[in-house]
Structure formats: structure tokens, C-alpha cells
Amino acid sequence: MKLLIVEDEQDLLSMINHYLKKEGFLCELAKNYREGYIKLNNYQYDCAVIDLNLPGGDGLTLVKLLREESPETGIIIVSAKDTTEDRIRGLEEGADDYLVKPFNLSELNARIKAVLRRKMNLPTKEMNFGNLSIRLDAREVIAGENTLKLTKKEYDILLYLARNKNRVVTKDSIAEHLWGDYMDEAVSFDFIYAHVKNLRKKLNENDCGDYLKTIYGIGYKFMAH
């Protein structure tokens, strides 16, 4: 999978690169409008992550351009602008997703995977880990022989962790993923704990108990073998 990241903040750019490279993505980096423009015109990407506020031009122009030139490329906007209006404008110009800064790297990773799947029916319609498989289209989880009865939030947590498999995912990023920006973290942590407890119980009943590992004080890790 080839990605283009257009972001002017050098630290952020290298962080994103670092995180996504480990996921097996091939990342091309552009740190201003011009570099982004040249790369978009010369190469083909599976997905582009574009910051709106760029030196030398508006990221939205890049989005528009890319959408016209290459409809099959997934586009994710990352921006500090967070009003409904900004989001709508971004999506109307052709972006597939809109992520507000500051974001968690695990969130960006999950969104990229979701966009790629929607756009290209890839990587898979099904994620398989030993005797556990997640069917993305039906939003079903199969453990051994049985289909698990998961609540919406339990499914979302499991999928989010699975999309960031073998990585520590922090509780605050799970909270933001599940309830959005305006949720107070202090409350949500108890709820995440409760959800994961239930999820784990359901997995345990079907001999899939060892997938979710708690990293004390930080979050969880999905262990894929």
C-alpha cells in the first residue's frame, strides 16, 4: 500500500511516517503545498493524508485536484479546524474522512485502513487471527464455531484494537474513537474498562481469551499470533 502524507509540521510528519511504516505501508512525505502537488501529479497513491493548512497553498485544493485526477485514491484530511462546517466542506470536496488535530496515531491508522477497505475492498473483508475472525461487512465476530453476540461498542473496540494489532492502544484514543471529541476522558475510562471486561468474557467463553492484553495504566493490546 502506498500512501502520501502532506503535513507541514516536521515532527508530526516523521511520527506518522514512523508509525505507518511499521504497519507495512509505504509512505511518501511532502511538507508543503508544492511538494504535495508535484507528488500527486507524478505518482499514484492508494491513500493520501492531507493537512489543510499548508505553506504555499490550501490543502483543500490538493483534495479537489486529487479527487478529479484519481477517484480511486482514498483521501483523509487532517486539520485543526473542527467545526461541522469545515468537516462538511472537506467531505464535499471529495475527502473520504476528516480527522481533527490533535489525533492519536492509532486512530489515523484505523481510519486509513477503513478508507482503504471501503475504496478498494481491501485489505480484506475478513480479518483472521487463529480461531478468531472479524467479518467487516456483516460486523460479525466468529470465535471458533460460534458467532459472538457483541454490542456495537464492543465490536468497535475489538475492531479498533485489531486494526492496531500487536500495538499498545491507549485508553484515551479508544475513548475518542468510540464517543468522539466531546467526551470527558475521566468518565469514559471506567466505561472502556467495563466494555473490555464484557468483551473478554465473551471471548473467553469461546476459547479466544488470550487476544486482549491489558497494559496497566495505559491501555490495551490486541495480540495476534
Binding site: T83, P102, K152, D172
Partner: protein
């Protein structure tokens, strides 16, 4: 003035009392006339002048009364025929402008600081996230990282709440339209459904009426999400929430702990009941700010563990 009149009247009585000659009476009356007539004239003149001066004073006071430090319109005093008032007005104007400038600078600083903090904060968060993936971390290191992460998150949340407040204060939300509050309430409840279930809360909504309000859609969502979140968080397990939507009014009533501080104080920034850990204490003050800037009024009442927050539109 009054003294002189009394003196002359006394003189006349004195003269009359001593069987005065006609000349003496005439002299007395002449003096009386000489003193009383200009005296009365002077009195009326001063009264008239005082009235004018009072009117000037009230004019200045009225301008001051309508002065709002947040309003961008410049303060204007009308020119007065009295130089003293002009001086006073000039001085006040200078004072107002100076205060306003300082206030704006202060506001600007808060807003800039919050915005500038955003990037380094997300860089720190990102690097912690990267560091966490390292295989060489021991239990102790992870624990330390956990504490760093927890505090960075707190800082980041605090910061984004302050940014939100400053954005509301700067009228940065332009997406004004007719907003259906019933629908937003329903969406928010749906989003928090699991939180409600885990705490075994009973939610009842009383919304026979469709409440539509002209306001920013983003702010409407934030306002209702904050109100409901507040009702969920400060509830008892097995408690209840009652949402009442009436004509021009939305009330969120919930069971909860008995308050130890006055409810109005909870609307202020960083005020909170101490036993709820890690709460930022900004949720309700954000609601208050939204109400202030949209021209609504927010009221908080509490009686024996029943909390009522109502917004009047």
C-alpha cells in the same frame, strides 16, 4: 443668600417693632427688595444650572452603564458645554480604551497560547505512543510512561476546552441555522447509550413538542452533549435522568449526590464537586458560555439530590 433674607426680614420686624418712621420702613423694604429679588433670581439660575449638570452626569453614567468590555463598538460621549465634563469624559474614554486593550490582549494571549500548545502537545502524545510500542520497556518504564501519558492527556483536554471557550467568545461558530433540539438530544442519548446502560440509569424524555432554535449547529451539539454527559457522570448508579422539552425551554433533571457547594458556582470555570476525580470542571461553564453568547439563560437548581439544569431560549 437665605441668611441675608432672614437678616433683612428680621431688620424689618425690628424696625416695625420699634414704631419706625415711614422712611425707616421704606429703607427696610428697599433693602429687602435689593436682596430678595436678585437672591431669588440667583436661586433659580443655580437650580437650572444644577439640573443641567445633573443631566450631563447622568448622560455620562448612562454611557458607562451600557459599556460592555466584550463589545467591539467604540464608546462615545457627547460633547458637553462644560469643560469639566469634557475633561472627565476624555479621561474616562482613555481609561476605557486602555482597559479594553489590556482585556483584548489578555484574551488574545489565552487564545494564542492554547493554539500554540496544540502542536507540541500532539507531538508529545505521538512520541509516547511510539515509545509504547518499544519491546525494550520494562514494567517500571511502562508505568512511568503511563503517568506521563495520563497527564499529557489531561493537559491536552484542558487545552482543547480552553480553545473551545475562546472560540465561543470570539464568535467563531458561523454555522447558524434552525436547529432541531429534539433530534440532537436523541442522537446524543444514542451515542451515550452504553454509558447509560452500564450505570443502570433510567432515562425518560418528555418531548411532545418540537423545539427548534436559531443557533450554531456545532454549539447546539456541544451544549446538549455536555448537559447530558453531566447528568450521566454525576448520577448515582440505578439513578434516573429526565429530559423535558417544552416551548422555549429544555430541562435536564437527574438524580445525584447532594451538593456541598452552591449550584450556581458550578457554572463557573474549574468549579467542581471535589469527589469526582479527574473532572476538568469546564463542562458546565462551556454550556454557560454557549448560552451567554447565543442569548439564552441557564439555570441550575438543586434540591435534596435532584439536580435541574434548564436552558431558556
Amino acid at each position: 443668600m437665605l441668611g441675608a433674607t432672614v437678616c433683612s426680614v428680621a431688620f424689618i420686624f425690628f424696625v416695625l417693632g420699634h414704631e419706625a418712621t415711614e422712611l425707616q420702613v421704606k429703607v427696610g423694604l428697599f433693602f429687602l427688595f435689593l436682596i430678595v429679588v436678585p437672591g431669588v433670581c440667583f436661586m433659580y439660575f443655580f437650580r437650572w444650572r444644577m439640573k443641567k449638570i445633573r443631566a450631563q452626569l447622568f448622560q455620562t453614567l448612562e454611557v458607562l452603564e451600557h459599556f460592555d468590555i466584550d463589545e467591539p463598538t467604540p464608546v462615545k460621549f457627547e460633547k458637553s458645554p462644560y469643560s469639566a465634563f469634557n475633561e472627565l469624559n476624555d479621561y474616562l474614554l482613555e481609561l476605557i480604551n486602555r482597559v479594553r486593550k489590556h482585556y483584548q490582549a489578555n484574551k488574545q494571549f489565552t487564545s494564542n497560547a492554547a493554539h500554540e500548545l496544540q502542536t507540541p502537545l500532539s507531538v508529545i502524545k505521538g512520541h509516547i505512543e511510539l515509545l509504547l510500542q518499544s519491546k525494550r520497556l520494562g514494567e517500571k518504564e511502562i508505568k512511568t510512561l503511563g503517568i506521563i501519558l495520563q497527564n499529557t492527556n489531561r493537559l491536552a483536554r484542558l487545552n482543547s476546552a480552553l480553545i473551545l471557550l475562546s472560540k465561543i467568545e470570539h464568535h467563531r461558530f458561523a454555522d447558524f441555522k434552525k436547529v432541531n433540539l429534539n433530534r440532537i438530544t436523541y442522537d446524543v442519548l444514542n451515542n451515550f447509550q452504553d454509558l447509560i446502560e452500564i450505570q443502570h440509569l433510567h432515562v425518560r424524555t418528555n418531548d411532545n413538542l418540537n423545539l427548534e432554535v436559531e443557533m450554531s449547529a456545532t454549539l447546539a451539539e456541544i451544549m446538549i452533549a455536555n448537559l447530558i454527559q453531566n447528568a450521566i457522570r454525576h448520577n448515582n448508579s440505578n439513578g434516573w435522568i429526565n429530559i423535558v422539552i417544552k416551548k422555549g425551554k429544555l430541562c435536564v433533571i437527574n438524580s445525584g449526590k447532594v451538593l456541598e457547594i452552591e449550584p450556581r458556582k458550578l457554572l463557573k470555570r474549574f468549579r467542581r464537586e471535589t469527589n469526582v476525580e479527574e473532572s476538568l470542571g469546564l463542562g458546565l461553564s462551556i454550556v454557560q458560555r454557549i448560552c451567554d453568547h447565543s442569548g439564552f439563560s441557564l439555570d441550575y437548581q438543586h434540591e435534596a439530590g435532584v439536580h435541574t439544569l434548564s436552558v431558556k431560549f
